[in-house]
């Protein structure tokens, strides 16, 4: 590409090494990158590819056990090895960053106005009082409504999207040359994600800074980047214009990444398939406030009068943003939270079933969670974790029989049966999710509720887990309720889709109908906000 724009940041043979008890780990293995004035460069890669550590290394933000070597020249000035005093003149002024975690990247103890003012006062001098006018201007620029009042808000009083806007305001405060956005929307809902990316885009058009967009999401890359660098295991495997990368990928890894977008369709079950699980007029209320001396309590309706009917062999995808009530609905259907409504499992009316009445049915109604790290006990071996349910539901089994079932279950999720003697921390995120699935299927359930089972996983791993879930469904005739905020995963997994917002069903129908011709505004907004690669 014959881009005449000036290179303002030249990275050469940059290496990042971490000293660990197991020896040195090289996270970045000598990469070259050029960032040109005003461009949007996407650095794409899966977790562990070193894309964030490259930026952290360059900016002197590595963890204590990390060190950086090589060269990163910003307009001729070497950043690697620059003493802190010199580096502090660049970062926050010429090169600024926004981070993945909008909830924790701001100091909870100071108002957002003061935090945005800090880099202004630091780099331009003056007092906090003088900086206030500039802060107000910035807040309006990033679209915080009622900026005059919000300037004195604390981070915990704002939503994730608003906090990310505050971070962007901070990043713009000193008219930077380069803005590094490290997974800026990964923690946000799709509609918010679209707003934030649009905001970044329009601000870039207005102020002309270069943006380095670090992401794992190819959809975002395709829509926002002009150039792409693909990273894998600490190396850049391919760079090129966005069009080249998507249409003529050269490296095998790039091709694999592009192919890893979830695809495939699921056929609907037969009309005559029996209904496995049904909820009518499902409502869930949570009390708010309260406490011994607290104020008068209110009621928050998390799920509002929802009807749902799951047939044998069917997968219903429940899609919605955080707070839409989709997870709560899943738990209500399994009778895990107090809820009103009529519930039917097969031929049994379970509306009035309490904990002990439900217990024998739990074997057939299983749940898999999102977090493959938090949902497995770190102090149990994998074998203990997956056979735990057998102690309750099939106590007559002998030790050898349990072990045999564990081996079968692990084979089914395509893990080495030897895994049962190891502990969860020895496994990757995808492997852990397989363990969680094994724990559910070892009981030979009929219905499995999958609550964001792929959300914490890389795309390529996601695809494998989806394939596995599909195969298991075929072999065992399972019915799934698949809860996710990720439309492409929903599309690949389910034959029927339910769109939820504020506890209510906005729209439902066969997957093709919902995706091809969404009727409701909200569904259309969701579809538009999801950048599909």
């Amino acid at each position: 590409m014959n881009d005449k724009r000036e290179t303002i940041l030249a990275v050469r043979d940059l290496k990042v090494t971490f000293t660990t008890p197991d020896g040195d780990v090289q996270a970045v293995k000598g990469i070259d990158l050029d960032i040109k004035a005003g461009e949007t460069l996407a650095v794409v890669g899966e977790s562990g590819s070193g894309k964030s550590q490259t930026m952290m290394g360059m900016m002197g933000l590595l963890a204590g056990n990390g060190r950086v070597t090589g060269s990163a020249k910003y307009r001729g000035q070497e950043l690697v090895g620059l003493p802190l005093k010199g580096l502090n003149k660049v970062r926050g002024a010429k090169i600024t960053m926004i981070f993945q975690e909008p909830m924790t990247s701001l100091d909870p103890l100071y108002t957002i106005g003061r935090q945005i003012a800090e880099p202004i006062v630091q780099h331009r001098g003056g007092t906090f009082k003088q900086a206030r006018a500039r802060v107000l201007e910035l807040l309006e620029l990033v679209g915080i409504p009622d900026a005059k009042r919000r300037i004195d808000s604390y981070p915990h009083e704002m939503s994730g999207g608003q906090r990310q806007r505050v971070m962007i305001a901070m990043a713009l405060a000193n008219d930077p040359d380069i803005l590094i956005a490290d997974e800026p929307t990964t923690a946000l809902d799709v509609t918010i994600q679209a707003q934030i990316l649009d905001l970044l885009n329009s601000l870039q058009a207005k102020f002309g800074m270069a943006v380095v967009l670090i992401t794992h999401d190819l959809g975002i890359v395709k829509h926002f980047a002009s150039r792409v660098a693909v990273m894998r295991r600490g190396e850049v495997v391919e760079t090129g214009t966005t069009a080249d990368i998507f249409e003529r990928p050269q490296a095998d890894y790039t091709k694999m990444l592009l192919a890893a977008e979830p695809h495939g369709r699921k056929a609907s079950p037969a009309e005559t398939a029996p209904v496995m699980l049904e909820g009518r007029n499902v409502s869930v209320d949570y009390a708010t406030g309260g406490g011994l001396f607290g104020k008068k309590s209110g009621v928050f309706r998390a799920v509002d009068n929802v009807n749902i009917r799951l047939k044998e062999g069917q997968t219903i995808g429940i899609v919605g943003e955080s707070g839409s009530g989709k997870s709560t609905l899943g738990r209500a259907l399994l009778r895990l939270v107090p809820s009103s409504g009529r519930y039917q499992f097969g031929a049994t009316n379970i509306s009035d079933f309490g904990r002990s009445a439900m217990r024998p049915l739990r074997k057939q109604l299983q749940l898999v969670f999102q977090d493959p790290y938090g949902s497995l006990s770190p102090r149990q071996t994998v074998g203990e974790i997956i056979t735990e349910g057998l102690y309750v539901h099939e106590p007559q089994l002998s030790r050898a029989e349990r072990d045999k079932r564990a081996i079968e279950a692990l084979k089914e999720v395509r893990l080495d049966p030897a895994a049962r003697n190891r502990y969860p921390h020895e496994f990757s995120g995808g492997q852990r999710q397989r363990i969680a699935i094994a724990r559910a299927i070892i009981l030979k359930p009929k219905v499995v509720i999958l609550d964001e089972p792929t959300s914490a996983l890389d795309r390529s791993v996601q695809g494998q887990v989806i394939d596995l879930l599909r195969d298991l469904q075929k072999t065992h005739g399972l019915s799934y309720i698949f809860i996710s905020h990720d439309l492409s995963v929903i599309k690949a997994m389910s034959d029927y889709v339910v769109v939820m917002k504020n506890g209510k069903i906005v729209e439902e129908g066969d997957t093709d109908a919902i995706f091809e011709a969404p009727r409701e505004n909200y569904t259309q907004t969701l579809m538009n906000a999801a950048f599909t690669a």
């Binding site: 600024t96 975690e101 630091q122 001396f293």
Partner: protein, 307 residues
Amino acid sequence: MISFVLRRLASAVPTLFIVVTISFFLMRFAPGGPFNLERPLPPQTMANLMATYHLDQPLWSQYVSYIGNAVTGDFGPSYVYKDNTVAELIGKGLPYSMELGFYALLLALFGGVLAGTIAALRQNSALDFLIMSVSTMGVTVPNFVVGPVLTLIFAITLSWLPAGSWGDGSLRFLILPMIALALPQLAVFARLTRGSMIEALHTDHIRTARAYGLPARTVVITHAMRAALLPVVSYLAPAAAALLTGSAVVETIFTIPGVGRYFVLGAINRDYTLVMGTVVLIAIFVIVFNLLVDILYGLLDPRVRHD
């Protein structure tokens, strides 16, 4: 804020009542009594004494009259220091204990936070190791060892400071007991600060502050320190209550006329009223300091602000 304070003060009343009730009956169920001496008193004298102090009445009626008097501020006469009421004894001793305790609290707080911060900033260095070793000693070596050792070194061998007594109340007299009193708390503050400081330095918002070119001093003092102080502030209430109400050991070693001794002496002598008086005193201190700390906590952390 005002309603929060009033609510908390109102909830202090049942707390105090429960503390007083439990201590009253526990004390009475302990074997012995205030007049059981090594050489037993003649039965007639004993009976007279019991009648004088109403100890011959049923327990519940003693309890009712104790509560009734206590509400009006009358904590009764001491059974052992016969010429004094409990209120007099505490009133005389408390200023000494509080003054000494206040200095010790300042020393423990500032010394501990400073040491902990330095240790956290130099994590795993020799200095960190040294500070943590000394603070382990501070926690583990009891003050009945620290006190005499300090006296031996600074008063007897070096003759820099007086070995004991309140003297004229000048700082010279207070330094050694203050150190002996403060050391265990200082060590706790240092450990707490170090731990929470290390945690604070690893948070995302500290990374943000560094990424925006704020100098190390600003990052540590305005951002990390404020977060790190929250657990320290929580510990401030029990530490303040413990230090300001005196220490039996330190006051005995350095012959300070404070109230710390009364709790132990009262318990040993079965001086029921004296023990009850010190229990009420300590309970009030704990309640008041917990309230102060909660207000302070709200000022430091907007997430738990009381409105």
